[in-house]
Structures are given as C-alpha cells and as structure tokens.
C-alpha cells in the first residue's frame, strides 16, 4: 500500500437478490487525484461508489480509510469520515432554497439554537467565491436548471469539507460549457488536496481530467490504470473486452419508399420544439442527446402521455390523432418506458397479468375476459421472447431485470403495434439479454414495425440504429446516417455544435 493511499478496498462483493453486482473487486485511491471509474452500463460502477459513500454496505470484503478498517452504516457516517457523494438521484429538497439545502443539517446556530442566517450567507458567499460559482442563495431549488441544481449539490458537499468526493455521472446532463465549468471546479478541489472519484462514459472527459482510471466489467475489476498510459483503443478494449459488433445483429434492408412512421413539426410544451423525422420500413431510428434535452418528452409526447403536444403524426402515411395514451395505443403506437419498475410493470402481479394488461380488450368474449386466450397469449409471448420464468403465474418482481424488460416488451407487443418506441431499452440488464433484445428489435423491423430508440448509451446507439437523430434543447441538432455515427459526431450534435 502506498503512503499516499487514502482509501483501500479489498475483495468487495455485493449482490442484490440473485444478481451479482460486484465480485471481489479491489480498489484504491490516493490523496489528491481525480480517479474515474469506467465501465459499461451495469458493470457495477455505481454500486462500488455507493458502498464507499455508505449508502450500500458490502456483503464481503474490507475497506480501509487511512489504513484503518471502516464500515459505514449510513451516508452520514461516511460523511463524518470525510467521504461525500453526489448521487445521480436528486438529493435536494425541491421546495427549499439553495442556501437552505446547502446547509441542511449543519446550519450554524446561535446560542438559542436558531439558525444564524448571517453566518450562513457569509460562509456560502465565501465558498462560492473560492470555487467561482454563481447562484442565487434564496432561489428555490425546483426553479433551477439541472446544471444549477448540480452546482447546489456540489456546494452542499463542499460545505461539509470532505476529503473524498464522489460524483456519479456528473456530466451526463450537462452541456459542453457546463461541463467545462464543472471540470474547473473539480480541478480546484484537487488543488485543495481532495480526492475525486467520478463516473463517466465519455472517453474525452476521462482523458482530459483524470489521473487514473479503474475499469469494471461484468461486476469484476479489469484493472486500474494511469491515464497517461492509456489511449482510446486500450480503454475501450478494457471496458468492452470484445468487439462491439458481436452483440449487435446485422442491419436489415431498408426500404425508403415505405415510410412506416413520421412526425411533422412536433412540439411538446417547451421541452420539444418543432421536431420532424420519419422511420422507414426495416429501420431502427435512434434518438440521442444529453440527459434532459427532450428525448423522453418526445417519446412520451408521441405516445400521448404528455399534454400540450402540437404537430402531426403519421403511421403508414395516414395521419393519426391521439390525445390520450389510449388513442395512441389503438393507433398502434407502443412505448417501452424508461423505468420498467415504476412505469412498465405491476411488480406484484403475475407475468401473465402484466403481459395481458395493455391489450385486455383484445381477449374478451362479450363481457368477460377470456382466460384461456389470455393464458395462451402469455405462453406465446414467453416463448417468442424467451422470457425465463418458472411459469406465467409467477409475480414479475421475482424475474431478473432482463426478463422483466422482456415482459414489458411482450405487453406492448400484445397491442400489435405498428411503431415501437423504446426508452433506454437495455438499462441495467446483462449483455446476453441485451443481445437478445437487439435481435428481437431487428426481427420486428423486418416484420414492418417501425422502431425508435432513445438511449444515453452511445455504443448502443451506434450499434443498433440505422440513423440517429440528435436533440439539443428540444430541437433536432443533427441527423446522422449509420456511416456518419461516432461518439464524437453524436456528442458534437448533442452539445449543439452539429
């Protein structure tokens, strides 16, 4: 162990139910470094950091801080040891002000236990000056932009003066200028002698700011590298470990004479502005962009889940008017939503009930549901999508993520869709399930279903999509054909430079 090692973790394992999230991972970081944890979706990066921050506890393994073994029962305990984390989930109270959020639970008090507002203002002003951050202290957090909220989170961490600062995908929602700003702050932190751990998917970022990179793959450690010893190719190989093309099926023939689906001048509130595109027969169209630039709203808008939508939708050349989700489904628009647990599934109910849910009216004899038809439909879907379950009567909450996602897809297939919208279709599912999913998508396109995929995983976008539409601030900032796609080209559009 090096003298300047601040945190050392040995053989850390963690599983959730039957799913292994981390398997005997060793990890260490030094004083005064910026250390990136890299890896594919579901590689276990967040789990590792959450164990460090005390939000999760490891099943096995040891953790040493300054050479002393520690075990954190809560994030608060970790904070007391000088470790603080900015989570991907919002940890601000939306209705409170910036100032109140930053000083939550550590407010300076006068001798009557009343919060000393002068001291609060002074401390905050000092801190903002030190890190060159500009925010209105009295602004209510819910009125702030995502970047401003993130600044608030960072200030909330800084005011607690930790030694180790963990940032979980801090840049995924930021535009280019904001990323620069964040990096400036991170470098300042490093100058102040702090250790920064952060997760990023973007190779450019990793090379521009980190000192070291630790790569995880399939819940295991691949290795820890000095950034200066790496290049793009080496890093990708370490992260993916195989050629990208192997899990993606071959593209179909695309028939540009047949437009399966099209939107014209489509707007959703002020989130999506004047978007037009079409999907041809046999094609998978991707929608990319930074988090919060309208991708989800676009999909939900098409599926009529949002109000205040303007624009025209065409299916197979015919205009469709859908004001409610119900209309959209009847018109043949199906959506696999971003969060299968809260939006896609009824976790307590059985596989069969979930599969049947979106298309109940299709299997009725007069008044009553036709149970026989329901069962045979469920059986058919389980077979067609090779859903692994102990039977279609099992509650979906007992299925693995990949199989749950297949149930969501099966449910949507039940309505015999003409166009299928996927929002982050493979988030948190394993490689095998991913490749099965891609195969199903391809098969569906060859059957004439139009497919639109929103994904923040650029490798996925490049791998599966025939064309990608990049959104920036709700507008189309670029349409890239298969051969034009690269992480760089997509990112350029995503930050508005397309």
């Amino acid at each position: 162990m090096n003298a300047d090692t601040i945190l050392d973790m040995q053989k850390i394992s963690k599983h959730f139910g039957g799913v292994i999230a981390l398997h005997e991972v060793d990890f260490s970081c030094r004083v005064n470094e910026i250390h990136c944890i890299a890896g594919e979706n579901g590689a276990g990066k967040s789990t590792l950091l959450k164990i460090i921050s005390g939000l999760l506890s490891a099943d096995h393994g040891q953790m040493f801080l300054h050479g002393k073994e520690v075990q954190f029962k809560s994030p608060h305990e970790a904070q007391k040891h000088g470790i603080a984390m900015v989570y991907q989930e919002l940890t601000l109270i939306p209705e409170l002000t910036v100032e109140e959020n930053i000083f939550l639970n550590i407010e300076p008090k006068n001798r009557f236990s009343i919060i000393d507002r002068k001291k609060v203002s002074a401390q905050l002003a000092h801190l903002m000056q030190e890190y060159d951050i500009e925010l209105a202290p009295k602004a209510v957090v819910k009125t702030l932009s995502i970047a401003q909220q993130q600044m608030t989170e960072i200030l909330k961490i800084l005011v607690r003066n930790p030694n180790i600062i963990i940032l979980d995908e801090p840049t995924s929602a930021l535009a280019q200028g904001e990323v620069e700003k964040l990096f400036h702050i991170m470098r300042t932190m490093k100058e102040r002698g702090k250790t920064l751990l952060f997760i990023s998917h973007r190779l450019d970022e990793i090379f521009s700011i980190t000192d070291r990179v630790t790569v995880l793959k399939d819940s295991r450690l691949v290795g820890t590298y000095e950034t200066k010893d790496l290049d793009h190719g080496k890093l990708i190989r370490a992260m993916v470990g195989r050629s990208l093309t192997s899990i993606f099926p071959k593209p179909n023939e695309i028939d540009i004479e047949r437009t399966v689906f099209a939107v014209e001048s489509f707007s959703v509130g002020n989130k999506v502005k004047d978007v037009s595109f079409s999907v041809y027969h046999g094609e998978v169209v991707g929608i990319a962009g930074l988090q919060g630039h309208g991708q989800t709203e676009l999909l939900n808008g098409i599926a009529a889940l949002m109000s205040h939508t303007v624009g025209k939708i065409f299916i197979n050349g015919e205009q469709v008017v859908a004001n409610t989700p119900w209309d959209a489904i009847r018109a043949g628009i199906a959506l696999v939503p971003v969060d299968r647990k809260t939006e896609g599934l009824l976790l307590e109910l059985s596989v069969k009930d979930n599969l049947a849910l979106a298309s109940l009216d299709k299997r009725k004899n007069s008044l009553f549901l036709d149970r026989k038809a329901e069962r045979s439909f469920a059986k058919e879907m389980v077979g067609r999508l090779s859903i692994k379950c102990a039977g279609e009567q099992v509650a979906v909450k007992n299925l693995s993520g990949g199989n749950q996602q297949k149930v969501v897809l099966g449910k949507e297939l039940g309505i015999e869709p003409k166009v299928l919208l996927f929002n982050e279709p493979t988030r948190g599912i394993d490689i095998e399930a991913k490749s099965e999913f891609y195969a199903i998508m391809r098969k569906l396109t060859s059957e004439g279903v139009g497919i639109i995929v929103v994904s923040s995983d650029l490798m996925e976008v490049i791998g599966i999509c025939d064309r990608v539409i990049v959104l920036y601030e709700g507008k189309v900032s670029g349409i890239l054909a298969k051969e034009e796609m690269s992480e760089e080209s997509i990112m350029r559009c995503a930050v508005g430079l397309g």
Partner: protein, 319 residues
Amino acid sequence: MNQRIKRVNIQQMMQRNTHVMYMYLFLLVMVIVSGVLDPDFLSVRNINNLILSSLPIFIVSCAQMIILLMGDIDLSLGSIIGLVNVVFVMLMRPDQPFGYVTALLVALAVGTLCGFVNGFLITKLRLPSVIVTIATSNVFGGLALFACPVPGGKVHNLFSRFVMGRQGFPFPIVLMVITLVTIYLLTSRSTFGMKVRAVGGNQFAAYTTGISIARIKLTAYCLAGFLASLSAIFLTSQMRCSDATVGNSFTVNSLTVAVVGGTALSGSVGGVSGVIGGSFIIMIINNILNLINVSSFYQYVIQGLVLIFALAISSKRKK
C-alpha cells in the same frame, strides 16, 4: 453579490410568499365586508371574542402544519383534543387552590403520548400516516368517550379565569404571541424545521444528509400531540367542562386552516404566518354567520367548500 443575484433573490422570496399575501388580501376583504355587514363586528369586544375562539384552532393547526410539512397527515388531532379535555377535567380538583397543576401536567403528557403513539406506529411499524391516524383517532376518541360518555365535570375557577384573561392579565393574547413566535422559530428558523421540511420534500435527500427520518417524525408527532393538548387545555378552560366529542371538528378544521394558510399537502411548504391568517378566516366565517343571524348549518357547507377550493387553487397554482 452582484445585482442580478440580488434581484433573483428578491423575486424568489416574493414568489414563495404569494399564496400567503393573497390570503391576507382575502382576509382584509373579509374584515371590511364583515364590518360593513355588521358594525358590531369591529367592536373591541367582538375582536376579543374572535381571538378567544380562534386560539384553539390556531394552535392545533400549527400541529397539523408541522405534520403536513413532513408530507404526512394527522387525522387524530381532534380526538387527541377530546381525550386531553376529558383527562384534564377528570384530574382537576376545583376545590383546591392549586388543584389544576397535576391535571395540567398529566394532560400535556397524555397529548404528547398520543402523538408518540402515532409517531411510533408510523415509523417503527412502517405504516402510512393516513391509516394510522384514522385508526388512532378512533382509539383516542373511544377512550375519551369511555372515560366520559356525557359532558360534565368542573374546571378550576381561578385557573379558567386566568387562562381566559379574566384576571387582569391578557393571557390569551400572550399565549397566541408565544405560540406564533415559537412555532415560527421552530419551523422556519431552526434546524428542526429544516429537517422536517427535508423529510417532507425528499426522503432520500434527508437520509443521505444524515437526518434520522424516524427520529424527526417521532419528534414531530410528539410535538403535534403536545400542541393539540395545549389547544385542548385552552379550550377546556373556556368551556369549563369535559366533552369527549369536543375535538371532532378540529381535525377537518385544522386541515382547512393549514391548507388555506398555504401549507402544501405534498410537504415542505408552509409556515405559521399563513396558519394564523387561515385560522382567522375560518373563525370569521363562523362569527359573521352568527352576527348576521344566518343558520349555523351553512357553516359546514362553507367550511367544506373552503377546504376543497383552497386545495384546488393550490393545485392549479402548482401546475
């Protein structure tokens, strides 16, 4: 700090308080209309009456507000008032010079204990606050009715006269001011208040910030119970007897007052400055109905409608 940020600061503070400002505007209109409808309305005696009758609902609405700030709801406050009223009168020794001391202490303890029971069931058994407080409301109300099936009993005369401000010392006004200031400091200027709001706004955030959600909830429910018993003691001094059902209307009224006063059912938002205005609005409605000799039956219709309208308006505002 630069000018832009200062402007944003001021803007935001204004925005945060619009609801309360509109409410006070409404209150002002009500006062003027009432004064025109009936000149007696603005007499010193009537204003005094208003303070006396608003005080119990004001105190218990503070309790409801604290619970609402946590994103919970307390439907047992009315029953706690009934139970404390009964206990207080039962233990009262009107014939002894200090015959109210034990009763006072036990009454406050009983109210706090009721709050503790709510908090315990909600935090330790992880049950939703709505269903717990509906159930405990029945239990507390049942206990009160069991101990005192029909109104009766006596209250220590001197104590009651003192509390009602009939001994030369304006106790009701002092109590109102003390409650107002204390609850303001507690909910808007203390760490406790911030923690309560944090629990109501985002439990994950509260947890990662090191706030013990269970402890805050338990404390808040105890505090709510304590305030309810304070309200009950004042009410009892006013009515000078026990009546197990006396608190029944307070559950709905406390909700109405809190919501009219700008407290959000979704948590985090609200303050005592709104609650005091809200309680005056509700009491003036009752008062003016009496003064202009209109059937008190309208009271229920109006109160229910006020509650629903206030909620509808605040939900529209949120959109």
